[in-house]
């Protein structure tokens, strides 16, 4: 999960070695209006609403666990506020550190 855009190196907790994440999401939390579409319709149930508020007073989503996200971007298609999108890791660039 990426909080600000265009990061090149993503550092994440490795929970289960056998299940490497295929992609991740980018969230612009301040745009979120907390509608939960992304959370509800994520095919891998990778998201939940964060406990925290954004400035507008909404709870933006967070990844429950990185390896659940497959980067399918259903959340991105669903999000009415252009606040989230998913992408798949570029195979070439991705490597475990």
């Amino acid at each position: 999960m990426i909080e600000s855009e265009r990061k090149i190196i993503i550092t994440m907790a490795e929970t289960k070695k056998e299940k490497k994440p295929k992609g991740t999401i980018v969230i612009t939390a301040e745009r979120c209006k907390g509608c939960s579409f992304c959370v509800e319709f994520c095919p891998t149930d990778a998201l939940e609403l964060s406990k925290q508020y954004n400035k507008k007073g909404y709870h933006p989503p967070i990844l429950i666990s990185e390896e659940l996200c497959n980067g399918c971007n259903i959340c991105g298609l669903m999000c009415p506020d252009f606040a989230i999108y998913g992408f798949m890791f570029n195979k070439k660039g991705a490597k475990a550190a």
């Binding site: 990426i2 855009e5 265009r6 990061k7 090149i8 190196i9 993503i10 550092t11 994440m12 907790a13 490795e14 929970t15 994440p21 980018v26 612009t28 745009r31 209006k33 907390g34 509608c35 939960s36 579409f37 509800e40 319709f41 909404y58 259903i74 991105g76 298609l77 669903m78 999000c79 009415p80 506020d81 252009f82 999108y85 992408f87 890791f89 570029n90 660039g93 991705a94 490597k95 475990a96 550190a97």
Partner: protein
């Protein structure tokens, strides 16, 4: 035990939808849980994969919450008057047939005040794609009854519930001659994206009805809950029936909501008909029109 960490080195692509938006105008005015933004994602993704030259794509809207789409898409875009997106688009398209013209507007805009333009554009088979966001009410003006409001649903102008039958829009479009007619909901983001792509590729009048939540003025008032509840309702109650007879797809909210592609036929567009006909009729004397 401390968590192990690993790093993935990857290029983070931008949010591709942003290229299609006037990001300087964000946040938009749509309410939390409103489906209009969702439909815009689908539109953007459809455009992205359509292969269209975006310089040549124009979006025309009427007035309404949905009408504001024109103001947010980063394309040539026209926010016209209430109900008149289609005739404006008619002029735009005929003036420059190289443009791909998309009309993006609300159910009230396109079928209440704008109903006449809708049926005539179908009849003429004007080459444009019409995306109609049906939220069963007039959003922008605060939730009045629309020609799409279901029976018994309340609205500010039907405070005790609506007793007028609503339009079956796919049936109406087909009866007037639209060549592509589909219905999806904002839950069906992938189908909708594909449908918009198909519609954009179709020559002639293509029409997509998109059922969309308006939590602020429709769902909550009608105790359907918020945007999410409405989305879940769409998920659970929709049935995909491609090729369904449009006569049977009226929305009575008793049985299933029939979605799918209902009509996909071939018929010369207004301009092709004109050019062909005049060429035949006037021969060399006719100056072939292409803008």
């Amino acid at each position: 035990m401390p968590e192990e960490l690993y790093e993935i080195e990857t290029e983070v692509p931008g949010n591709t939808v942003e290229e299609f938006l006037r990001m300087e105008r964000m946040p938009h005015i749509w309410c939390p849980g409103c489906g209009i933004g969702t439909s815009v994602n689908c539109f953007a993704h459809a455009l992205e994969t359509s292969g269209l030259d975006l310089q040549k794509v124009s979006v025309v809207s009427g007035i309404g919450c949905t009408g504001r789409v024109a103001g947010y898409v980063n394309l040539d875009s026209f926010h016209t008057t209430h109900g008149r997106a289609i005739p404006f688009a008619t002029g735009l398209k005929l003036a420059n047939p190289n443009l791909k013209v998309v009309v993006y507007s609300g159910d009230g805009d396109l079928t209440a005040i704008g109903g006449n333009h809708f049926i005539h554009a179908c009849r003429r088979n004007l080459d444009m794609t019409v995306i109609l966001i049906n939220n069963f009410t007039y959003g922008m003006t605060g939730g009045q009854v629309a020609p799409t409001t279901p029976l018994t649903a309340t609205a500010t102008t039907t405070p005790y519930g609506n007793f007028e039958q609503s339009f079956n829009l796919p049936y109406l479009a087909e009866s007037c001659g639209a060549v592509y007619v589909a219905r999806w909901t904002t839950y069906h983001v992938r189908h909708l994206t594909k449908a918009i792509k198909e519609a954009l590729a179709k020559k002639g009048f293509s029409f997509i009805e998109v059922l969309s939540p308006c939590p602020t003025l429709y769902s909550r008032r009608n105790k359907i809950g918020d945007g999410l509840d409405q989305m879940i309702y769409y998920q659970e109650s929709s049935e995909i029936k491609h090729g369904a007879d449009t006569k049977t797809v009226g929305l009575d909210f008793q049985g299933k909501i029939v979605v799918g592609k209902f009509v996909d036929i071939e018929r010369p567009t207004y301009l092709d008909a004109m050019n062909d006909y005049y060429s035949k009729r006037l021969g060399d004397k006719f100056v072939h029109y292409n803008g």
